[in-house]
């Protein structure tokens, strides 16, 4: 049986009076893309730094590939790739030299290293920029270089700490596709972000954290099932009688109906064909309606329902 890639048990980390990580438990399976989703200051980066043994912590156990993690566990470190939130490259070295430098900290054999560096450059699409200095690169290209420096040694576990902060949409998509490719090639990915769309797009399992606590854990569908709101139907309509609003509220799976500014909003807690049933009812009462929209819940809705606040607060 495969050991978990990362196992965090009862992790507690304090910064003086502030409890940054509060009895956090995580188990990240080998081969998955694991999302750590939470607002800024929720303890994601602190958790990552504890996993990497960069930060001391007050309590808890951390193991990677079944081995307890410690600062001097070089046998574990050689299998980890880290892409920091802040770009960590040398301004005085070219794209090629930067990747070569960091790859050299992991791979001693010159020939293998040269091949790995080429592979990393290909992977992030920096072939045309290999002799460029970081200062000459755009924000997106710089992020790609940052990623290349972290993955050139072909690690088994890759930790990406908000790698798309301040990146344009095109580069963001390129980075997300790259992460999926790395995962397809066999790497386990831990991806932290406060962008729910990104996490939703690429992660196989997600942990929602806030104030250092693991609030919910599962696949995106599992997480969405945790909340009551499962479908939001909005219909533009000139007017509607109160008796009809009450009748819609009695339709199956409908648990809340509001009418404001000529917009009817219907919240459903599950089930199928909710929209058809609502539209059938309105047509039967000969209401004319305009724009119709049905929306499934997002992770933000999950976060909102669990914590009572927006994810980007």
């Amino acid at each position: 049986m495969n050991e978990p890639a990362v196992k965090v048990e009862n992790l507690v980390k304090r910064y003086k009076e502030i409890l940054a990580v509060d009895h956090l438990n995580l188990e990240i399976r080998q081969g998955e893309i694991f999302g750590l989703l939470g607002p800024n200051g929720s303890g994601k980066t602190t958790t990552i730094n504890c996993i990497l043994s960069l930060l001391s912590y007050d309590m808890g156990d951390i193991s990677i590939f079944g081995k307890p993690m410690a600062p001097n566990r070089y046998d574990i470190k050689k299998d980890i790739g880290i892409i920091m939130q802040n770009v960590a490259v040398f301004d005085e070295l070219t794209v090629y030299e930067n990747i070569d430098y960091f790859c050299g900290l992991y791979i001693k054999d010159k020939k293998i290293r040269a091949q790995y560096v080429e592979d990393a450059i290909d992977f992030v699409g920096l072939n045309d920029f290999r002799k460029f200095y970081p200062k000459k690169l755009s924000g997106g290209l710089l992020r790609r270089l940052n990623i290349a420096c972290g993955i050139a040694h072909k690690p088994k576990l890759i930790i990406l700490d908000e790698p798309t902060v301040a990146v344009d949409p095109q580069s963001r998509n390129s980075i997300l596709e790259g992460i999926q490719k790395l995962n397809e090639n066999g790497a386990t990915i831990i991806y932290t972000s406060h962008y729910m769309e990104e996490v939703e797009q690429i992660c196989t399992r997600i942990a929602i954290v806030d104030k250092g606590k693991n609030l919910a854990l599962g696949t995106k569908d599992e997480l969405k099932k945790l909340i009551k709101k499962r479908e939001i139907i909005t219909i533009d309509i000139l007017d509607i009688k109160d008796s009809d609003i009450a009748a819609i509220e009695n339709l199956p799976h409908v648990y809340d109906v509001t009418f404001e500014n000529h917009q009817l909003t219907i919240l459903c807690d599950g089930g199928q064909h909710n929209l058809i049933r609502v539209l059938d009812y309105l047509q039967s009462k000969e209401y004319s309606f305009g724009h119709v929209h049905s929306e499934l819940p997002t992770l933000n809705d999950v976060f909102l329902e669990i914590t009572g606040k927006e994810l980007r607060d």
Binding site: Y15, L54, M84
Partner: protein, 381 residues
């Protein structure tokens, strides 16, 4: 290790700001010093001392006149005499056209003005001349009176000069310019400024100071390997830059710093190592950013250089008189003293003491820097 050293050299070579300043300091300041001191050296040339000579009508006047004519008749005369009466001489002295008045007699007398305080050196020379003249005159008269048969021996002695003190020359080069000391201090300052490179080593290897430090910390390469490699790369590179500055001073400006070349270069290397390790030490202190710590380097090294005499030439002598321990502890003074002792003394004892003190400093700085920087787990990032 070789991989890190090689790429670190590339980084250092492309760090134009550091390279520029380490090269610029000895070249620009050295050139300025050279221009300033060459003019001063010209001003230092001795000129004849203007003096009024009054010859009284007695048997002593001829001897004084003959003596003065003798010392005035050379290509580099000591005196510029004006033979006149006492009244004329007093007028000249009041007008500050002469330094003093020599008057013949049983004892030659010297009259100087107490108002001419800026001419004390010339007044002292005249005083010494008068004393010597009177002493020799007395000796000759005394011998002629008591042992006239020995007058020839006495005159021979005066001719050759009898020296009862044996002079042992400790000096290797008596003709060394008094201003060379400034260049020694300039070399010391440049060596200590390599501390900026040491700051970079410290900050780029600590996860709580830079993202680069964090990335290095999570790699499987032992921290000590990275630190030692970067220390080697930085020291050798800074040493190379210092050699260029040293050669510029020695071969272009012709500053007399080539005494015992291998030992001078060894001093240069040790002083660069001290500078880089000082930077490593300062860079390891606290969680302030690299820029702040670079400021600290200048705040620490400039007073050191001031105390070693970079700005005021005789500062080290003043300190030696009042608080000699500072000279023995100040790295800038120690570096400067290494070059000075190599240029001045035959013996290497003082040089060895200086070098050993610098090596001890270097060991302390490196040890402390390593102990702090090798830490791999932090309370906060």
């Amino acid at each position: 290790m070789a991989h890190i050293i090689l790429l670190s050299w590339k980084k250092l070579f492309r760090d134009k700001v550091n390279t520029f300043w380490i090269l610029c300091f000895p070249i620009v300041l050295g050139t300025l010093f050279n221009l300033a001191f060459s003019n001063l050296a010209k001003d230092e040339k001795m000129s004849p001392i203007p003096v009024a000579v009054i010859l009284e009508d007695d048997e002593y006047a001829d001897a004084l006149e003959a003596t003065i004519d003798e010392i005035t008749d050379s290509t580099d005369p000591m005196l510029d005499p004006t033979y006149c009466t006492m009244d004329e001489a007093m007028e000249l002295l009041e007008a500050k056209e002469i330094t003093g008045i020599l008057q013949s007699g049983e004892q030659v007398s010297l009259t100087i003005s107490s108002n001419m305080t800026n001419d004390t050196l010339n007044q002292s020379i005249l005083q010494a001349f008068t004393n010597e003249y009177n002493m020799q005159q007395d000796a000759i008269i005394n011998i002629l009176t008591t042992h006239p048969e020995k007058i020839a021996d006495v005159l021979d002695n005066f001719e050759t000069g009898t020296d009862y003190n044996k002079t042992v020359s400790l000096s290797r080069d008596d003709g060394a310019s008094p201003f060379t000391q400034y260049f020694f201090n300039l070399l010391a300052m440049t060596s200590l400024f390599t501390a900026v490179g040491g700051i970079k080593i410290a900050t780029e290897n600590q996860a709580n100071l830079t993202p680069l430090g964090a990335r290095k910390c999570v790699s499987p390469t032992h921290k000590l390997v990275t630190l030692v490699s970067e220390l080697i790369a930085t020291t050798t590179y800074e040493f190379l830059l210092n050699i260029i500055g040293f050669c510029y001073l020695a071969y272009v400006l012709k500053v007399d710093i080539l005494s015992r070349f291998p030992l001078s270069i060894f001093s240069l290397f040790i002083s660069c190592l001290t500078g880089v390790s000082l930077g490593l030490f300062i860079g390891s202190l606290g969680q302030k950013q690299a820029e702040f710590k670079q400021g600290m380097v200048f705040a620490v090294t400039m007073p050191m250089c001031f105390l070693s005499g970079l700005m005021i030439g005789n500062m080290r002598i003043v300190i030696e008189e009042h608080c000699p321990i500072i000279n023995k502890l100040n790295p800038a003074a120690l570096i400067s003293d290494c070059y000075y002792t190599l240029a001045t003394y035959e013996s290497l004892d003082r040089f060895k003491t200086d070098i050993i003190t610098l090596i001890v400093y270097t060991c302390i700085f490196i040890l402390f820097g390593f102990l702090v920087t090798r830490r791999q787990k932090y309370a906060s990032l």
